[in-house]
Amino acid sequence: MKRIDIVYEKLKELTSSNNEWISAQQLASILKLDRANVSSDLNKLWKKGKVQKRNGRPVLFSVVRQKSSEMFLTKLDELMYHQPSLAIAVEQGKAAILYPPKGMHMLILGETGTGKSMFAELLHEFSIEIRKCSQDAPFIAFNCADYANNPQLLLGQLFGVKKGAYTGAAEQKGLIEKANNGILFLDEVHRLPAEGQEMLFTFIDKGVYRRLGETETVRSANVLLICATTENPESSLLTTFRRRIPMNIYLPPLRERTTEERCHLIFHFFREEAIRLGKEIHVSANTVRAFLCYPCPNNVGQLKADIQLACAKAYADYVTAKKKKVQINSPDLPHYIKEGLFIAKKQARSLVFQYRYYIFSPDREEMSFEPNEADYQNIYESIERKFNELKAHGVNDDELELLMEIDVENYFTQYMKGVNRRIHTGNDLAKIIDPPIIQLAETIIQQAERALRKRFAKKVVYGLALHIQTSIQRIQNGKKIMNPHLNKVRMMYKNEFNLALDCMKMIEEHTGLDLPIDEASFLTMFFVLDNEAINDHEEHVSILVMMHGNGAATAMADVTNHLLATDHVKAIDMPMHLEPKEIYERAKMLVKQIASKKGLLLLVDMGSLTTFGELLEKEVGIPVKVVSAISTPHVLEAARKAIVGYSLEEIYEDVKNVTPFYVNRPLWNGDEQKQEKFVIITACVTGKGSALAIKKVLETYLHFDNEFVDIIPIHVASEKDMQMRLSQIEKHYRLLCVISNVPFLGKTPYFYIEEVLSLRAIKSIQKLIDIEETYTKMIEILTNHLQCIRASEGIAAIRCCFANIQQKLQINVHPHDMIGMVLHTCCMLDRLIAGDNSVQYEQKEKYIKENEWLYHLVKKELHSLEKKYRVNLTKDELCYIMKFFEYCKTNC
């Protein structure tokens, strides 16, 4: 053993247990070594991060206490561990602190109560923990809103004041000076008045500043700035900040965090309160549920305050002897928190709390549960208790049974769906599940197949394997497994249940764990469930995508198959060099393989492909329908409906009506819109990370004016959630397009994330931006030119009418052509209103006669303009418009 190791071991022995400190001299005399050597070893160890030291005289040393994992976890890491949604923020924060040489200024963005101040403090601690700053590095927090209406005072606070700078001014140090070699946290930085901004920018750019009233001396300070704001980062003021502070850290609001994270926060706050009160706090399961689900607009801050309030109230009841212990039940909660209980019920995923009370204790880290004596094996008691609890809520028996049933069923259908979505191949499976468990699942299914004399779908093996893995983990983690339906299951499916008991033994042997009998009822569900899953083999309408070019058809089919977790959609690419006949033969071969009696839906882009339908119908002998000029949403719609068993006719009709991809609709209703700014939404179900990544891609590849377009990344839980979020955003913006990985069928153009990542969609999105920018410019120009109508209003109304005409005609006019027509029509309207009817169309009567239906259609759709502006559109004018659409229709 080298001397340095001996020193380290001794120090560990002496200081690791009870947080003691020792000087080099003391250690040297204990080890009978030279003080200078020991001191040098200690300093070496300190540099390696194995030893911590406390400055002073003498300098004291202590071993760095390591976590069991032998890893040095900073507080930030802990935060990230408990709040995975903050992972990106934490990584960004660390990067900014570590950025050489002095760190990088940061701008923290987030709603009120998302923890911006706390995050800044943690960054400060982190910089000390990793020794980027010295132990005593200052952390100065300042809220810019404090003196917002007195800029002089605020500047004095920030930068300091020279004696005599104004009447009675005393020499004063500024916060920047106080924060030297540390961190200055500027909260609500958007409230900083313009004067302050300039001085701050000088400081950011050059690291120098002057005290108020100083002209000659220039002071410098080494300060890392952390700014925070609740404002929209795109707002005009902040853009200047953002230019200088490139590191923007976004803290997601509570609603974007997972249930687990929220749960952890709740438990953490309750424990904090327990410590503060020095008393055990008993919290009912329903209370936890309510806190988990109630709408909490002011985020973590509010959650904490609400929990504190609930605890305070419970404590008051305890002190006034209304209650024997500090106990919180859901009826005691304020109304808006109790609402969470109703929301919790509506949620599909079950929030499992198997304990009646959660007990938070000031002394122990872990919480305990009541009733502890209630053995979970005693399922009767547990059910009874649940019954009673629900009954107390006024639920009758029938409903009760139903409720509990729904819970269990829900669990299972969700579960199998999840399996389906997550796992496509055995390879994927092996990444998630230990191979021995897969083998075990396979053996069980084989046995089940023999015993029950039926075949199971492959996905049941996957599902079962995943289920076994999670059950084992649950049990190993001391979590409970229970199925309130045990008895029902046992009665209803005797054979399967007995089989499940056998299988359970196999699992027990394999893992060496004891499984509760409830587990058998879950296994039973797997064996039973497949009866319905067999319906899967029912025939569905086949779907074949064929498109010109290399890979277009395959890509569309892949996207669809991926999104719907199926392989139902087939594709044939048609490279330009291949003869149609050759392609046809290929298609025929494939169709013969996949054909089902229910028919085939052929989705093609154009040209000779459209004629394939009839041929195939004759030669293969199944009904075939063809939809041409398709895009991904068509394929998606077709596949979705086919999988759930719609008929060919139904699917054909529905797909035809899917709004085409590059919707030329105006992005708003005919009414005028106040919102001037456009927005591109990137939405993601897998977390904000990919939404942010997409935003970056867009920012890199698109050309647009920041004043004109915003890109907002959001995290959504489901399609429905997305609709809701979008309608909220629409209050402030005009939606330009949506980029998402959930199928979204709204009036807004949308793209799939894959299309953006592969840059295929960039051109289309750019087009959307350019066109809207053009219309905006058009409004500006026309505003000065038009005499009778307001340009913004007129253009919106006209675009709306034209969109309807396009829909009726089932054509897609190229947006570029449309620009000209809109401009024309707007001028035309203005002219007519002014009384100028001079425009003639040669042989209009003849033309109208030849195209009577088009005349009526255009006239009808434009009637809203006539009504709005109380003007008659002359036949001549209508003819020009008709001619335009007629041309577009024949050339589409």
């Binding site: 350019d770 026309l782 052509d817 620009i819 000209g820 809109v822 035309m828 040669e842």
Partner: protein, 100 residues
């Protein structure tokens, strides 16, 4: 330099004409710019050096191209973005480039 603009009824381009005239004046270019409807265009063709179509009458391009070729007049469609923004300077430049 004679520039003829053609649109559906000859009215929406008149705005563009004004802007182009302004641009020409600023640049010190002597240009005669005027707009007519598609039906009238034929009669004006002989007086024009360049013929520009509004995007909404793009469908007339092939017809006018033939007419233009016969007379040695370049014919093209105005960039829709410039048209929509009534960007006179840009369209003027486009016309000058066509003529070269």
């Amino acid at each position: 330099m004679n520039i003829l603009l053609v649109c559906a009824a000859g009215m929406s381009t008149s705005l563009l004409v004004t802007k182009m005239q302004q641009a020409a004046k600023e640049k010190g270019i002597e240009a005669n710019i005027w707009a007519v409807s598609a039906d009238e265009a034929k009669a004006h063709l002989d007086r024009a050096d360049v013929l520009l179509l509004g995007p909404q009458v793009r469908y007339k391009l092939s017809q006018f191209k033939k007419e233009g070729e016969a007379r040695g007049i370049p014919v093209d469609v105005i960039n829709p973005t410039d048209y929509g923004r009534v960007n006179g300077a840009s369209v003027l430049e486009f016309a000058l480039r066509l003529k070269q």
